[in-house]
């Protein structure tokens, strides 16, 4: 799966994202700088990594969401291309309007950096097909603004359409309905606060994130 990892000034999980992509999806996965106007020819997955793009100035993800490359990412998503936003990448996706809602300050203000348990709620997406419904996986979080918020109608729609794909078993940050990750209406854009790319090798403490990348590979084959 031809993968482009977008780099913004202040991205700091870009290396991890590229490593996981090269290990599990595409040995030629490459970085794309935020000032580029287009994605490499044939890009199938855009990976928006974690970090503190633009120093989280104004709001986390706000400036990155309005950088030149995001026009190309939006066009890619409109064509049905896959987009994965992790942590700051999730914030960029909500700020750019590719996913509904917003991420605000953690309920207790702390920056939280530890492994958490997630329940896989929907295995019918391109990102979760390799998991089993209700499976609990261990994936690390590392964020200060991961408190998912959306108005009640939006939350009801997300729940009704099965767009909530990952839920915290023990809510660390105050997110509504324990939401940890959601997909777009079409299911081709996933945003999540936990870091699956940091859980792809036993050496890292967990391999539970592999399923997400295996799912994407499977989704491409069955397309």
């Amino acid at each position: 799966m031809k993968t482009a990892v977008i780099q913004f000034p202040g991205s700091n999980c870009d290396g991890d994202a590229l490593h996981a992509a090269q290990l599990l999806l595409d040995q030629d996965a490459q970085f794309v700088w935020h000032t580029e106007a287009g994605l490499p020819q044939g890009t199938e997955l855009v990976f928006l990594p974690g970090g503190f793009s633009y120093g989280d100035h104004l709001r986390s993800g706000a400036i990155a969401a309005r950088s030149p490359i995001m026009q190309a990412v939006k066009a890619h998503a409109e064509r049905g291309g896959y987009v994965l936003g992790v942590c700051n990448g999730f914030q960029v996706l909500t700020e750019s309007g590719l996913l509904p809602g917003a991420l605000s300050r953690n309920r207790d203000l702390h920056f939280l950096c530890r492994p958490v348990h997630l329940r896989v709620e929907n295995t019918g997406t391109a990102f979760t097909g390799a998991y089993t419904k209700g499976q609990v996986i261990e994936v690390p979080i590392a964020h200060g603004e991961g408190n998912y918020y959306a108005d009640p109608e939006t939350v009801a729609r997300l729940e009704g359409e099965g767009q909530v794909v990952f839920r915290y078993v023990d809510n660390p940050n105050g997110s509504l309905n324990d939401i940890a990750g959601i997909v777009s209406e079409r299911g081709n854009v996933l945003g999540m606060m936990p870091h699956p790319e940091r859980a792809v090798e036993a050496l890292l403490g967990s391999e539970d994130g592999r399923g997400l990348f295996d799912s994407l590979k499977g989704a491409l084959v069955s397309r």
């Binding site: 104004l58 709001r59 706000a62 917003a102 605000s104 300050r105 953690n106 918020y149 105050g174």
Partner: protein, 87 residues
Amino acid sequence: MSTFKAKVFVTLKPSILDPQGRTVERALSHLDHGNVGGVRVGKYIELTLSGSRAEVEAQLKDITENVLSNPVMEDARWELSEELVGA
């Protein structure tokens, strides 16, 4: 063509929990200001813009609603005043 000074105030919607405001409120309470409540922390942004008043107002509305605030969780309002030349 005139120059205008804009003051933009961005606040969290009343329905959104403001943990920062709550922390400040608790600190004030510890400092014997127990009568203080409803602390909400927001943002204040200054800009200068040039153009006609109508142009600048439309532009400021666009900037405020689409960049300076996130309507999902924030409210925003602004004040606009013309800067007098030579003042």
